[in-house]
Symmetry: C3
Subunit: 144 residues, 3 copies
């Protein structure tokens, strides 16, 4: 079975934001894999700690340091100093996350959640494509 749906997130300011709820409310009661894809090259997705908001602040601190905007060697900067750096951050973190699903329940750790990583200064609504592949009946399922 294949489920596929496109959703639009609310707009978020530059930074890292927990968006698990928007994905989980779309997920059917099957067992397989959830694939979440972002249709952009200046924002990205990752899985990380879902409880303490300072983790998301520290992510922003780290990535701004790792990919500094005041780098005069970049050629692709027509949309501003956050243009090329956003593309780079996006590939370091990735344009999709995927995780196991068991009878509609995400089989992730209790501390895991999905982050939208918004790398641009201007907030904008980002589009995700959620695809779920799986079956109701599972061939070999061990207790989890």
């Amino acid at each position: 079975m294949v489920f596929q749906k496109t959703i639009q997130l609310p707009s978020y300011a530059r930074g890292f934001h927990l968006i698990s709820e928007y994905v989980l409310q779309e997920v059917p009661k099957i067992t397989g894999i959830v694939h979440v894809f972002i249709q952009h090259t200046s924002a990205s997705l990752t899985l990380n700690e879902n409880a303490d908001p300072t983790v998301r602040l520290d992510f922003e601190t780290f990535f701004n340091d790792l990919v500094p905007e005041e780098d005069s060697r970049y050629l692709h900067t027509e949309e501003g100093s956050d243009d090329m750096t956003s593309h780079i951050k996006s590939s370091l973190l990735g344009s999709s996350v995927s995780f196991p699903l068991n009878k509609g329940i995400p089989v992730w750790g209790i501390w895991q959640g999905i982050y939208l990583c918004e790398h641009r200064n201007a907030a904008r609504r980002r589009t995700l494509v959620i695809t779920v592949l799986g079956e109701e009946k599972v061939e070999s399922l061990f207790p989890i």
Copy 2:
């Protein structure tokens, strides 16, 4: 349904190269997920901006800076100064990309494309494995 095919890319010089066309011409008219895998540990795959070639040049600039070759602490350098650094870049970017497919059409943003990231100095032909999982009929499909 499962489709699986191994393809060999042309050889590319060190750098970042747009290879979407080689993948898309293999994709069947189903709905699901396309998984593209590179069978190497010194080259990688990522999704990023498909229009302006300077983005790919800036990627090469950034990753050469992030993973400098003149680092005397590396132990694994028997194949040259681009040996260990290529392994590191490969894990930072990843050995696979995956994206949603809808009736044979990639459901990605208009600016997204697949990059081959060639980290070695010597050009060589790289092998990709394309696997497509999905169905002709989709359980729950929202307009996209």
Copy 3:
């Protein structure tokens, strides 16, 4: 067909460790995709060189440099100086790896293997969820 199983790895010291055997022994004789997911946000998974152990040592050297622990700006450090840095390394490398499977054989390069990336100082047992999606019969299979 969907196969899904949760396994617990032995505990590993901080560093990069080859764990391919724990995954491969669970894989059924079908063709499709193997998805390996780690249920933690301070350890991660990647695919890289499976032969020379110095590659794994060099990974540890590189990532300690890239994400230094003596960074006083991090807010999320209640569990020690390896707390926030482990979350960051985890997102740089990723919480899952996936690779093609052909009749139960991983279709990866001869030098590829799965690394557990343990970012915390204290060794602990990590939990993986292995999901395999595929079919016995493949629609379009080219010789590999």
